[in-house]
């Protein structure tokens, strides 16, 4: 139907060289060379097809059949932001709109000696050594086309540095807003969080779309957790029906560090989350919680990897999903225990409730173990709500609908209660209650 003759990939590649042409001297910088290399990989590989095992159940055909405006232009005002506010949320609240960091909308309350927050491109200029030590070390362009694409266009996004020994009192909440009111928009936000030894911080990424047009968000976050540091990381998605989201979070934790994550995907047309945690130290712990609740024709795919590289580490994963209508879900969770990683404890569980005969859930737990003294377990269940529990509740006078709502809410709460930023947890509980009431 469209008169466009070039596809999304060609358009992006052309775009890259057009930008490069007006860069003057910066095109020679080390950072730009990294981007150029990433573009080469993207150009070479293109977008994945279902023939790629990793993308078997998540077809991006629809995503790439449209064009998006990647310039970062938008018409989001204070007023619009006000309408998107999360009640009672205080702390460091940053806004990235259509991929662009908006300093005027953002609030930073933590003192500079506790925490440094900057848009990525500023951090590259101001702290080039620090950034280049970490940037691209975890999320490699070679391993994934979307990461390559993100790297090629990496400009804005948030750089966070927590110095050694600092406990950041206030949470950091990064709100990614896609303003798709005027046209289809695309963005490649790139985040880099470096948490030094013995430091502590809570960080949340929240994704929202406004408007009726399409949005394509391709985000990459790299998180480095140093010795004895403690990081809580939450990713919250409440996007629109025409929102496409591909997000990769790649984490490395080392000796005695702790990483807690919760990924809660409540709405979005097409969502693919990749979460990789490298447990590259002894006595470190990683927790991965997830909740997805697609309805209509929404598609939510979570790929996770717990990569145990050293002895004596612990990972525990719980993902839960409720699927309604004609929605589809994917869970692909891998536990990888390398030969050196003796005494690993790794647990994984994925539980799904499929409420409609037209909804589909694909689960694929994978254990790959090369050490011989480990404790690992995994289990997935996919079924309906517990009939016995429903009857019990109804026998006390609770209507079938209300009983189902209570059971589903409790099912979600198992994951949502893991979120320790109160305002965000309460906000999600509200969204879930609203979504449950829709039926």
């Amino acid at each position: 139907m469209s008169t466009e003759t070039i596809d999304l990939k060609t358009r992006l590649v052309t775009d890259f060289y057009a930008r490069e042409a007006v860069m003057n001297g910066e095109a020679q910088s080390e950072f730009h060379q990294t981007k150029r290399k990433a573009l080469g990989i993207f150009e070479d590989r293109g977008f994945p097809t279902p023939r790629n095992e990793e993308w078997k159940y998540s077809n991006v055909r629809d995503l790439i059949s449209h064009q998006y405006q990647f310039t970062g232009e938008h018409a989001v005002t204070e007023e619009v932001i006000d309408s998107l506010r999360i009640a009672n949320l205080t702390g460091n609240i940053l806004y990235i709109v259509n991929g662009r960091y908006e300093a005027s909308l953002s609030t930073i309350v933590s003192p500079a000696d506790q925490l440094q927050i900057k848009p990525l491109h500023e951090a590259i200029k101001e702290r080039p050594e620090l950034v280049s030590t970490y940037f691209g070390q975890l999320a490699k362009s070679e391993s994934d086309s979307f990461t390559a694409l993100n790297t090629a266009f990496a400009h804005d996004g948030v750089f966070i540095h927590v110095p050694a020994g600092k406990v950041v009192d206030h949470p950091i909440v990064i709100r990614f807003i896609s303003d798709a009111r005027a046209e289809n928009v695309g963005s490649n936000p790139r985040n880099l969080f470096v948490v030094e030894q013995n430091a502590q911080v809570k960080i949340a990424e929240s994704y929202r779309t406004i408007g009726e047009e399409r949005s394509f968000t391709n985000t990459v976050t790299e998180i480095f957790v140093a010795e004895s540091a403690n990081v809580e990381y939450y990713k919250v998605q409440n996007e629109a029906e025409k929102a496409y989201h591909v997000g990769t979070t790649h984490v490395r934790i080392v000796d005695n560090s702790h990483f807690y994550s919760a990924t809660v995907s409540l709405n979005g047309g097409f969502i693919r989350n990749n979460l990789t945690i490298e447990l590259d130290g002894q006595h470190c712990e990683a927790f991965m919680y997830g909740l997805y609740f697609p309805d209509g024709k929404q598609h939510i795919d979570n790929h996770t990897l717990a990569d145990h590289r050293q002895p004596n580490s612990y990972s525990n994963e719980l993902y839960k999903g409720i699927l309604r209508d004609r929605s589809t879900g994917v869970f692909n969770g891998k536990i990888f225990v390398r030969q050196d990683a003796q005494k690993t404890n790794a647990y994984q569980s994925c539980k799904n409730v499929v409420l409609s005969p037209d909804a589909t859930m694909n689960t694929k737990p994978q254990l790959e173990i090369y050490a011989d003294d480990v404790k690992c377990s995994h289990g997935t269940t996919t079924g309906q709500l517990d009939e016995e529990a429903l009857f019990y509740m109804r026998s006390r006078g609770i209507s079938k609908n209300e009983a189902m709502t209570l059971l589903m809410y409790a099912f979600c709460e198992d994951v949502v209660s893991q979120i320790k930023i109160d305002a965000i947890r309460e906000h999600l509980e509200g969204v879930i209650t609203e979504k449950l009431a829709k039926k």
Partner: protein
């Protein structure tokens, strides 16, 4: 209050209840006894509206209404309460929240305004005291990790809160030690009123030492084969069920 007339029910094509007749009046306590597999729990489940059972014949009238036409939640709102033999664990739903929802749904059915948080809490505390229910259990997920005794006590506590017209206790004594049995029975006895009727389903006479029935019925092979005063329970305790079985077989042979 409750009139059961020639009730027949089956599960997965197998007939379990083969023509039950029973009338229960306000304030009465009826014990239903019988050997394993006689259909006692089925009768309790059918009255509460468990959907796995198919009612194949007969009628049940409750307070003048056709009970079998009602959904389980409507039966509860009309005043039927089933204390489960195996109370269900429901993770993530606290007992207090569960009961608040139940009370207000029933009030809505009855055309009453919902209780506010303060009114509800006051009422719940009084009832908890009545059945010696520890307050701390109320905030925990419903029955999750409760001991057998705690679960049964929670059933009686729920009964106290919901104030049914007809309480059906399904093998409430099973799995209880003597102390737990006494506590649970005391709870039931405190809830006896001239209006409230109770059906006690049990295999053993033991429970009837504490909850003294007005009538005892013996269920065998899906029918009530013998009814009598409370002394019948003692006779059963003494002689077992074999003589009843023999009587029935003899009758059938004729």
């Amino acid at each position: 209050m409750l009139k059961i007339n020639d009730l027949r029910a089956s599960i997965e094509g197998k007939e379990i209840l083969k023509g039950i007749n029973l009338e229960v009046k306000p304030g009465e306590v009826h014990a239903i006894m019988g050997p394993n597999g006689s259909g006692k729990s089925t009768l309790a489940s059918v009255l509460a509206g468990r959907e796995e059972y198919e009612v194949t014949g007969g009628a049940v009238e409750f307070s003048g209404k056709d009970l079998l036409e009602m959904a389980p939640e409507e039966r509860a709102a009309e005043g039927i309460f089933l204390a489960f033999q195996y109370p269900v664990e429901i993770p993530g739903v606290t007992t207090i929240n569960f009961l608040k929802t139940a009370v207000n749904e029933i009030r809505k059915y009855q055309g009453l305004d919902p209780l506010d948080a303060a009114q509800f809490l006051k009422m719940v505390r009084e009832k908890a005291k009545l059945v010696n229910m520890n307050d701390s259990l109320l905030k925990r997920a419903l029955n999750e990790g409760f001991s057998g005794g705690e679960k049964k006590r929670n059933e009686i506590f729920q009964m106290a809160v919901l104030e049914p017209k007809l309480a059906i206790l399904d093998e409430t004594d099973s799995g209880l030690d003597i102390d737990a049995l006494r506590i649970v029975s005391e709870g039931v006895n405190k809830l006896r009123t001239p209006e409230r009727a109770t059906i006690v389903v049990t295999h053993y006479q033991r429970l009837l030492d504490y909850i003294v029935p007005d009538y005892v019925h013996v269920l065998y092979k899906g029918r009530i084969v013998k009814s009598g005063p409370k002394e019948l329970a003692l006779e059963l305790e003494e002689k077992g069920y074999d003589w009843i079985k023999a009587e029935v077989e003899a009758e059938t042979a004729q």
